[in-house]
Assembly symmetry: C2
C-alpha cells in the first residue's frame, strides 16, 4: 500500500487489558495529516472525548514520528506525543528529538497508541514485532537517567532507546515531562499522563529501514534543503556553535526577554550575566540528534560549590525559566537545575515560571515564611530554586504540593488576587518572549491549541527578522491575525507533522519550507502532495485541534493574556512603551478569526470545516449545539 | 601458540609518544601467573622500579582479566588493575567485575598496559584491532556516569563498555577510583594514577570469543563448580537475595563491625539501624556481572528529603565506611553517599574512614570549626559526610585538600598525635572487620601486599566458620601465621588471577577451589596445571609483590596495626576483652614469615625465591644489598 516513508502500521497497547495489537495506518490519514502532530491530533480527536479526565484510563498517549523520520532527510529526528493535557485541559502535544523517535519507525510503526491504565508499574519493550509489557516495580522511584541505564542492562542491549518518566511523572505533577536520554517531550504534563497509566518507560530497538518511494526525487529535495541550510546566515556560522542560548542576547536587546515574573519592565538586562558570553564559557561541546548536520545542543558543565560537576544542555527557554524569570544570574545554577529537571522529569519552563510566581507572591507577602517552611523565596535565590525543584518532583507537603500542578492550579489554591501574577495562558506557563514587544508572537501564545506555546506558530519575522529584516513591525497590532494564522499553519505542516526540527523553520528555510516539505514527503511516500496540500494540512490540524478544545470547554475568552501583560507597560529597553490593551487583543483576535474563517466566538465555520474535509469536526460541534 | 583461554596478546599504549603496539603474551608468564593480578604484579615488577613517583609518567596502569574471563565459567567476570599506588606507595592492585573486563578479551587482549602521560585529556577507544587515542577535553570535569553516556553517544555504540575516572581522579585524590558502570576498581588510588596520565576513560567493544582448548573437560569442571555453588548453604538461599549487606548483622554479632573510628569498643550495636533488616526495605532488585548466576548486587533506592531518588548498590564495606565508622545510622544517607562516591569516582572505604578520622579529631578539638569552615563534624552527621565527599572530589581548599589524599597524609598535615587515631595500614584505610576479634583476618591486613586489604587473604574460617564452623578460634594468636599465608596464596591463585569472584571463595567453594581452578584453567588454556601448580602461583605472586614493596622501602615495621588496635581493648559485645598486643603481633609475624620461609625481617629467602622460580626478584634484592 504505502510505497515509502510510512511503515503503514499503528501499534496499539492497552495497559488495562494488556492487549497488544497492530492495525493498518489508513492512507487517507497519511495524506491528510502527514504524520507527527497531525497523526496525534487526528487520533486524539477520533478516540478521546474532549471532556475525559486527563489522568484517567480513558485518556491516551499517542506517539508519532513522521514520514521523514528515520530517512536521511536532515533534522527529521523528531516525534510528537499527543494527549489531553492535565495542565491545560486542551490538546497536549509535545515534540522531542534525539534517537528514540526514529527507533519506532525502524521497529516498523508510524504510531504508538497507549491506552488504559496498568494497575502496577510496567514498561513497554518493543523489538520490531516483539512487544512486551514488562514489570517495572523495581524502576518505580528511580530518576530518568538511572531508569534508562537499568533498562538497557535488563534488556541486554544498550543501543535500545528509551523514553521514560522520573519521579515527577510518577507523582503526576502536571508539569512532568517524558525524557529520552537528556531530551524531553517537555511541556503540558505529558509525563503525568504516563505516570497516571503506571507506565514508567518505553524501550524500543528496531532493525528495519524506512523505504523511499522515489529515491532520486528524494535525493534532489534533500540536496536542495541541505543547500538552503548552508546559505542560512545563522544556522552554521552561529547556531551550530552557540545553540539556542544565543537567543538570550537577541531578545534582551529587543526588550522581550522576560524577567522576575515579568515585573521587571526593561530596567534590568540579564544578558550581561546569563547571556551567550557568560554561558559559552561553560561549553563542553555539541550534541546531534539523529540525522542532524547542525548539532545545536550545547553541553555545559557547571562550576562552583554546590553546582560543580552538574552537566546539562539548557536551551534558551531555560535561561529564562530557571534564570531571568526567577531573577537568577548564576549560569551554573541554571545548568545544574536544568539537569535536576531532566533527572526528575520536569518541564523546566513551567517549573521556573511557577517558581517565579511563588517568588512574587512571597515578596508581596501573599506567601509567608510559614507557607514556605522557612525558605527565603526572594527573586534571585537560586538555592531556593534547586530546593523547590525537588519539592515539586516529589510533590512534598507544603510548597511541593502547592507548586507541582503549575501556576493556574496554584493560583486557585492561594486564592484572592494571586492569579493576577500567574503567567500562563490556558494553564500553560508563558515562554521566554514578552508578548508586549512581539505582537504576532504573543497572539500565537493566545491562540495556540496547546496554550502559551511559542512552538506552535513562532513569529520568526518578528524575533529574527527572517526572511526580510523589518518586514514586519513587531509592535504593530494590525496584520498580526493573518501573520499568526500563516505561522501556525506552516509551522504545523512543515515542522510538527513531517516531522522536522523547528529551528530550521525559524532560522533557515521558511520561504521554501512548504515546497520543500511537499517535495520531501512526496518523494519518500509516493503520495503526491503540492505546496498547497501541505499548507492545508497545517490548517486542518489547527482546526481539528481547535474543535477538540471547544469540546473540552474552551472559548474565545480563553484566547487571552495574563492580566499583567494587559495592565502594565514596558518602561525601558528595546520595547519601551509597549503593552497589549484589551482593544489590541480584540482587534488581533477578530482579525485572526477572520483569517481562519472562524466565527467571532472562535468556533470554526461549517464552510471552513467542509473545505478542510473535516466532517467529523462539524458533526461534533453540531451535536453540542455549537454549529 | 595458545590453544585457548588466552588471546595471546598484550596491548601497550604509550600516552606520551601516542604509540600503540601489540606484543605476544609469553606462555611462561601465562603458566607462572595465570592472569589478572598475577599478570599485573609480574608486569609491574618487570617494568616499574619500586621507587618511581606513582603520579609521574614512569608509573604504569596494567589492566588484566584472566583466562576464565569471557568464558562461560561462572563468576569469572573480573579484571585486575595494577600500578604503584599513590595512596600506599606499595603495589596497588584493585579488581572490578561487571561487563567492562570481558570486553578486553573479546577485543583480543589479555593485558592492557598504559604508560607515559598525555599532555591534554584523552580517552582510549578499542574496537578489536582498532585502537585510538582520542581527545577528551570535553569530558574533563564530568562525572563518571555522564562520561560513560557521552562516550557511548560519541562512538555511536551504547554497547561499548567504559571504565573512567570522575572529578576525584582528575584532581588526583589518592582515594580516587576507576568506575565502570556503577562498579569500581575502588581502592589504592588507581583513579589518581589514571588522572595523572590525563586519561579520562577507556572504552572497549570486542567482537571476538574466548577459545576453549578442551571444551569437554571445561564443561565437566564448570558443571562441578555450578554444583558446588548450589550446595553452598548461603550462596543462593541468602547471598543472592541479600548480597554483602547481610554481613553487617554477622560481624555485628561477632563484635567486629567497627564504628565511630573504632572508638566504640562494642557498647553500641549499629546492626539495628543499618543492618540487613533496615537496608532490605530499600531494595529494588539485583544486578549480575557477566556470566554470574548469583547476582549479589542489590540496587537500593534512598528515601526521604535530601536523599530521595538516590540509587546505588552499597556493599557491606560501605555500610561501615559511610555508616558505622562515621557514626551514621541513616541507611538512606549511605545509599546516597555511595552514589556520590561512584559519581565522583571515589573509594567509599578510604573516604569514609578518612572522614571518621576527621570526626574524631574534631570531637577531640584537634580540628576546630575554623578548620572545617563551620562544618559540624560530630559523628553521625550524615549531611557533613555528603558535603565532605564533594569537598574531597574537587580537592577544595580547606577540608577537601586536607582529606583528599587519605588518612596517612592527613595525619601528617595535622601533626602531633593525630596519627594515633588514623585507621590505616601502609596508608590504606582499614576494612570493616576489627582485627582484634578476628586475628588471622587482621594479620592479613597487616601483611597484605596492598596494605589493609581484606580481599587479599580473607579469613573466611574466622568470619563465616567455613568450611567447618569453629574449626579456628578467631581470638587465638597461635597458628594464624600459617592460616594467613594459606588464605593469601589461595585467594590470589583461585580468585585474583583466573579471575574469579572472591565471594565464591568466601562463601561457597574454598575446599575445592585449588583443584577447580586447576581444572578450569587447564581446560580453557590447554596449559596443564595441577592443584599444586595453582597454589604455587598464589605464593609466587605474593612473593614477587613483597619484593616490589621492599624495593619501594617497606620493612617488617610496616606490617603492623594502627595504634588504637594495639592500645585499646574491646569492652563489650561478641569480641569483648580482645586486643592485639605488640607481643601478639610479633608472635603472629614470626610465624607468618616462617610459614612463608621469609627471614624474620620480612625479606623472602634466597631459597624461597629459587623455589618459586623468581630469579628476577632475587637479583633486585641482591642489587640493593638486601639478600
Amino acid at each position: 500500500m504505502f510505497q515509502g516513508g510510512y511503515m503503514g502500521k499503528v501499534l496499539r497497547v492497552n495497559l488495562t487489558t494488556k492487549k497488544v495489537s497492530v492495525e493498518d495506518l489508513p492512507e487517507k490519514i497519511a495524506r491528510d495529516y502527514i504524520g507527527g502532530a497531525g497523526f496525534g491530533v487526528k487520533y486524539l480527536f477520533d478516540e478521546v472525548p474532549g471532556d475525559v479526565d486527563p489522568l484517567g484510563p480513558d485518556n491516551k498517549l499517542i506517539f508519532a514520528p513522521g514520514p521523514l523520520s528515520g530517512t536521511s532527510a536532515p533534522c527529521a529526528s523528531r516525534m510528537a506525543v499527543t494527549t489531553k493535557s492535565p495542565l491545560t485541559g486542551a490538546v497536549g502535544m509535545s515534540l522531542s528529538g534525539g534517537y528514540f523517535p526514529v527507533e519506532l519507525k525502524f521497529a516498523g510503526y508510524d504510531v504508538l497508541i497507549i491506552e488504559g491504565q496498568a494497575d502496577t508499574p510496567v514498561y513497554l519493550h518493543i523489538r520490531d514485532d516483539k512487544v512486551a509489557i514488562k514489570n517495572a516495580e523495581k524502576l518505580w522511584g528511580m530518576d530518568t537517567q538511572i531508569t534508562q541505564s537499568i533498562i538497557k542492562q535488563d534488556v541486554n542491549d544498550h543501543n535500545t532507546r528509551i523514553a521514560c518518566i522520573g519521579q515527577a511523572g510518577e507523582n503526576q505533577s502536571k508539569m512532568a515531562a517524558i525524557i529520552n536520554e537528556r531530551r524531553a517531550f517537555g511541556r503540558k504534563g505529558v509525563g503525568a499522563v504516563m505516570g497516571s497509566k503506571n507506565l514508567k518507560a518505553i524501550a524500543i530497538r528496531g532493525s528495519g529501514q524506512v523505504p523511499l518511494a522515489n529515491p532520486k526525487a528524494f535525493e534532489t529535495a534533500r540536496k536542495f534543503m541541505l543547500e538552503a541550510m548552508k546559505q542560512s546566515p545563522v544556522l552554521y556560522p552561529e547556531f551550530s556553535k552557540l545553540g539556542t542560548p544565543m537567543v538570550v542576547d537577541a531578545t534582551s536587546a529587543m526588550g522581550i526577554f522576560p524577567s522576575e515574573n515579568y515585573r521587571n519592565t526593561g530596567e534590568k538586562d540579564y544578558s550581561t550575566t546569563i547571556g551567550v558570553e557568560a554561558s559559552i564559557s561553560r561549553n563542553k561541546g555539541s550534541e546531534h540528534c539523529y540525522g542532524c548536520p547542525v548539532g545545536c545542543t550545547q553541553l555545559k558543565l557547571a562550576q562552583g560549590r554546590g553546582y560543580e560537576g552538574g552537566m546539562s544542555d539548557p536551551e534558551y527557554e531555560t535561561y529564562y525559566s530557571l534564570g531571568s524569570v526567577v531573577g537568577v544570574e548564576s549560569v551554573d545554577s541554571i545548568i545544574y537545575n536544568d539537569m535536576l529537571c531532566d533527572k526528575y522529569g520536569l518541564d523546566t519552563m513551567s517549573v521556573g515560571v511557577t517558581i517565579a510566581f511563588a517568588m512574587e507572591l512571597f515578596e508581596r507577602g501573599m506567601l509567608t515564611a510559614a507557607d514556605t517552611n522557612g525558605l527565603d523565596l526572594r527573586f534571585g535565590n537560586h538555592q531556593a530554586v534547586t530546593q523547590l525543584i525537588e519539592e515539586i518532583a516529589f510533590r512534598r507537603e507544603g510548597m511541593g504540593a502547592l507548586l507541582c500542578d503549575g501556576s493556574r492550579i496554584m493560583a486557585e489554591k492561594v486564592g484572592g488576587e494571586a492569579d493576577d501574577f500567574a503567567m500562563h495562558i490556558k494553564g500553560l506557563e508563558l515562554p521566554a518572549y514578552d508578548p508586549r514587544g512581539a505582537k504576532a508572537h504573543g497572539l500565537n501564545f493566545a491562540t495556540s491549541y496547546t496554550g502559551a506555546d511559542h512552538n506552535r506558530g513562532y513569529a520568526f519575522q518578528e524575533v529574527f527578522g527572517i526572511p526580510v529584516p523589518n518586514a514586519y513591525d513587531r509592535f504593530a497590532v494590525a496584520g498580526k491575525g493573518w501573520l499568526t494564522k500563516w505561522n501556525q499553519d506552516i509551522r504545523c505542516a512543515t515542522t510538527d507533522c513531517p516531522t522536522m526540527c523547528g529551528f530550521l523553520m525559524d532560522m533557515a528555510v521558511p520561504a521554501i519550507a512548504e515546497q520543500n516539505t511537499a517535495d520531501l514527503v512526496s518523494s519518500v511516500s509516493g503520495i503526491a502532495l503540492t505546496k498547497e496540500d501541505v499548507g492545508m494540512v497545517g490548517e486542518r490540524v489547527n482546526n481539528l485541534a481547535r474543535v477538540f478544545n471547544i469540546t473540552a470547554g474552551f472559548t474565545r475568552a480563553d484566547d487571552t493574556f495574563p492580566k499583567r501583560i494587559m495592565a502594565e507597560t514596558l518602561k525601558e529597553g528595546g520595547s519601551s512603551g509597549q503593552r497589549i490593551s484589551q482593544e489590541d487583543l480584540d482587534l488581533m483576535l477578530d482579525e485572526y478569526y477572520e483569517a481562519r474563517n472562524w466565527r467571532q466566538d472562535g468556533v470554526p465555520t461549517r464552510q471552513k470545516l467542509a473545505e478542510l474535509d473535516l466532517p467529523e469536526a462539524a458533526a461534533v460541534l453540531v451535536a453540542r449545539g455549537l454549529l
